[in-house]
């Protein structure tokens, strides 16, 4: 029990010192000292509540993905039927009730139609994405399967996360955290951000750009749709009716830059298409010279200029009533790509940087006073054994910080409370042991036997007590969110380090002293 061979001593010291040294860069950082760049520099991340910054939880509506899939399928079915030779005529197309349905004008076309549609139903994966049913031999119904929808949502969220990352990178903020959470959510955390509104404005833009031909007055209502003007265009409450199909989506952009139109000094956004998009745009503008087309962003009309000349160079200009800032914002959004699905902010938290710095200062002060009080109490009660416990406590705090830095864990405000509780409870193991040694001495055991029995008998309770704490810490971590998680991490790591320092390290100290001093009595 009290036998510590050299190799054991060395390895215990190695572990203790290594973990403790890992804490030094973080401590230097808090103290405002420069840590030499040539040395490894693990840091404890500070949570937003300490560092200040913004936390956003973005959510996509799966309904939007469903709707989009139906619309895309409708376009491709129309195109397939139109391009078929001979052409297959269809009518009564609808996308209601979560399915696409249409009538064949000639029932004899059913097998050809099926043959054309079936390849389009197969996605990239092995998942079956659509169910095709034929009613009365003439009506075709296409229903997306749940598995297909889920796959689509998953893909959409993956690329949405990528788009969000690109947009935030464009803002030049440092160390953002962008994570997918659950099925339809993305967490964005940007420490130290001064202007959360700009971030929100940027992320709130789906940036779905569309160019659609404006419908001629008096055209039949079938195949038309209506969009409102974007606010700020001076045309609030007015609408533009456009042809639903045959336009161009802005997916094929390669670049977007804010600029100024030299002719009228207005802010514009210059966009460049890739080869395919450029060709489509050239075709559209060539065929419709003299007609107006609407530039639609996220379902709102920015402007509806008339096509003066064919635009064949692959680049175009988006006009609207932009300020330099809003033009730049749109350029960033377009450059980073459109979000495959609109995202809404369902949770937002911002913490001012002043408050964070203040919290750290107060937290550290409280920790220092608390530690001092605990140390004084331990030394006054257990003398030499209290000093050993104190040294172990100091290593415990350092190791806890060091391991958090190593693991890249985040220290939050509740985490500081967790730290203090760890300090208070860490000495419990030593209290248990020392009280037990007192008891054994009172029963008349000799010094070494009393110390040995003390460690042995107390360790059972220490083990049970700490293991249950780890269990509740793990439950906290797995079911909790945000601040609860931050608290749980400190608690779990703190329990591990405190058992190590409180039981193993102190035993090594005590054993070393007993061997050297060989006391006949101990003051405990």
């Amino acid at each position: 029990m009290l036998d510590f061979p050299l190799w054991k001593k060395l390895s215990l010291w190695a572990v203790t010192l290594a973990a403790s040294l890992l804490a030094l860069p973080s401590l230097a950082n808090v103290a405002g000292l420069d840590w030499p760049a040539s040395l490894p520099n693990p840091q404890v991340n500070l949570g937003l509540d300490l560092a200040g910054g913004s936390h956003l939880l973005l959510e996509a509506k799966s309904e939007d993905v469903r709707k989009q899939r139906l619309e895309t399928m409708e376009e491709s079915v129309r195109q397939l039927m139109r391009n078929a030779k001979p052409r297959i005529r269809i009518g009564d197309v609808s996308t209601a009730d979560g399915q696409l349905s249409f009538m064949l004008e000639n029932a004899a076309d059913i097998d050809r139609a099926r043959g054309l549609i079936e390849p389009a139903m197969q996605g990239q994966t092995t998942v079956r994405e659509w169910e095709l049913t034929v009613v009365d031999g003439q009506r075709v119904q296409l229903k997306p399967t749940e598995a297909g929808i889920n796959q689509a949502i998953d893909d959409a969220m993956d690329s949405a996360t990528e788009v969000v990352r690109r947009r935030i990178d464009e803002l030049g903020t440092r160390e953002p955290t962008i994570l997918r959470q659950g099925d339809t959510r993305i967490v964005v955390q940007v420490p130290g951000l001064q202007d959360p509104e700009a971030l929100k404005a940027l992320l709130g833009k789906t940036a779905q750009l569309e160019f659609k031909l404006v419908a001629e007055p008096g055209a039949a209502a079938v195949g038309l749709e209506t969009f409102p003007y974007a606010p700020g265009e001076g045309l609030d409450g007015q609408f533009v009716t456009v042809k639903r199909l045959g336009g161009i989506r802005g997916e094929s952009l390669t670049d977007a830059q804010a600029g100024v139109d030299p002719q009228n000094n207005r802010n514009v956004v210059n966009i460049t298409f890739d080869a395919q998009g450029g060709a489509k745009f050239a075709k559209l503008t060539t065929e419709n010279v003299g007609k107006p087309f609407a530039i639609i962003l996220d379902g709102q009309v920015l402007s509806a200029p008339t096509i003066q000349t064919p635009i064949i160079g692959g680049s175009a200009q988006i006009s609207g009533s932009f300020t330099p800032e809003s033009a730049n914002e749109l350029a960033i959004a377009l450059r980073s790509g459109a979000l495959p699905v609109p995202l809404v902010v369902v949770e937002e938290r911002t913490v001012g940087p002043d408050l964070g710095a203040d919290s750290i200062r107060k937290g550290l002060l409280a920790m220092a006073i608390g530690s001092f009080a605990v140390i004084a109490l331990m030394v006054a009660t257990y003398g030499r054994f209290g000093i050993y416990a104190t040294v172990a406590l100091v290593f415990n705090v350092l190791m806890l910080l060091g391991l958090m830095a190593l693991g890249g864990f985040t220290l939050t405000l509740p985490g500081i409370a967790g730290f203090v509780i760890t300090i208070g409870a860490a000495v419990d193991a030593n209290v248990l042991i020392n009280e037990r040694i007192r008891e054994e001495r009172a029963r008349g055991r000799k010094v070494v036997a009393a110390v040995e029995t003390g460690y042995k008998e107390a360790s059972r309770a220490i083990w049970d007590a700490n293991l249950t704490n780890v269990i509740s810490g793990v439950a906290l971590f797995s079911f909790g969110s945000g601040p609860v998680k931050g608290f749980a991490i400190v608690l779990i790591i703190g329990i591990i380090t405190s058992v190590f320092t409180g039981v193993t390290l102190t035993r090594m100290f005590v054993a070393g002293w007993l061997r050297k001093a060989r006391p006949n009595d101990i003051n405990i």
């Binding site: 369902v346 937002e348 408050l355 107060k362 937290g363 006054a380 049970d464 509740s472 601040p483 608690l491």
Partner: protein, 325 residues
């Protein structure tokens, strides 16, 4: 050097004598807490209720003008706001519920928060915005579910562990003590109407951990003494076990207490509620480990013979296995 002794050696306090009145007291506390929650409800923060919370510090005055703030924000027409001191006297949190139908509309929520900030800053130019939280109704509901799940999972898991490590009676006893601690703490929040947030849930879970620590140390000693003193009355044995561990109980509670007090008075204001909950829980947890966890063992029929018999039964089986019988 003369060392400090908080608890004299060989105490012999008859804790168990008062077990019935204290147990009744505990039951009253538990049911009283439930009643308080049912009648008063909890003052849910934005984490659990959803809505807008704006936190502000008044940099030029010592005391925030809470009543006039309440009136002013109510005048904006978003319903009755919750305006309360937040840590320091010059810091406030202003909470506005989102109107019906806009719980999941971030634009509406954002607009409300901005109007509140603009209005307050218009009247009090020295007000500094420290933070602004918006939580949609749906997310708040999920937080609530998750918090309840975390509490139940933690309580169930540790009770199960104790059952496996000790005996089922100990598991039930520990579970009961935990229900007591959680109920009374939550009840206290219902009574004082202090804000109940995710942080408070973390505090309650810390209490669970701490109270369990205490219970386990006492239980461990009971188990040890059950093997040692087979002829002793159960009540005396429980008293002996609690007395033997009393010095440790007092000392550990005290060290945790002295660590918490500076955090309460000098720590960040936003931690006040959480630390207050843990401090109160420290006393509740210590009390329940002594007055509930122990007596319950007697009432569940644990006697000095119960585990002796099971042990000898095990011995007997082993002897049969070895072919000695």
């Amino acid at each position: 050097m003369k060392l400090l002794k908080l608890v004299p050696d060989n105490t012999n306090i008859k804790f168990l004598k008062l077990r019935v009145p204290f147990f009744v007291l505990s039951l009253v506390l538990i049911f009283g807490s439930w009643a308080a929650v049912a009648v008063n409800g909890l003052n849910f923060g934005v984490d659990f209720a959803g809505g807008q919370e704006v936190r502000m510090t008044f940099t030029q005055t010592e005391t925030a003008p809470i009543p006039s703030l309440r009136e002013q924000v109510a005048g904006l027409g978003f319903g009755e706001p919750v305006v309360q001191e937040f840590g320091a006297k010059n810091q406030v949190s202003i909470r506005v519920a989102l109107p019906d139908g806009t719980e999941d509309n971030p634009e509406a929520a954002k607009a409300i928060g901005e109007k509140v900030i603009a209005s307050v800053k218009g009247t009090y130019p020295d007000a500094r915005v420290d933070g602004n939280d918006t939580v949609s109704g749906k997310v708040a509901g999920e937080f609530r579910d998750q918090a309840i799940l975390a509490l139940l999972a933690a309580m169930a898991a540790v009770s199960l562990y104790i059952w496996v490590r000790f005996e089922w009676q100990f598991g039930v006893g520990a579970m009961f003590a935990l229900v007591h601690d959680v109920s009374v703490t939550v009840g206290l929040f219902a009574l004082t109407q202090m804000e109940f947030s995710l942080q408070i849930v973390a505090a309650i879970l810390a209490i669970i951990g701490y109270s369990l620590n205490d219970t386990i140390v006492v239980y461990d000693r009971i188990r040890e003494n059950l093997k040692k003193y087979r002829k002793m009355e159960m009540g005396d044995l429980l008293d002996l076990s609690v007395n033997e561990t009393l010095a440790r109980t007092v000392m550990t509670s005290l060290t945790l207490f002295v660590a918490l007090i500076p955090l309460l008075f000098f720590g960040p204001p936003s931690l006040f509620g959480m630390v207050a909950a843990i401090t109160v829980g420290l006393f509740i947890g210590t009390y329940s480990s002594i007055y509930m966890a122990g007596p319950l063992l007697i009432w569940m029929g644990v006697t000095t013979n119960s585990f002796v018999q099971t042990e000898s039964a095990v011995d007997r089986q082993e002897k049969i296995a070895r072919g000695e019988i």
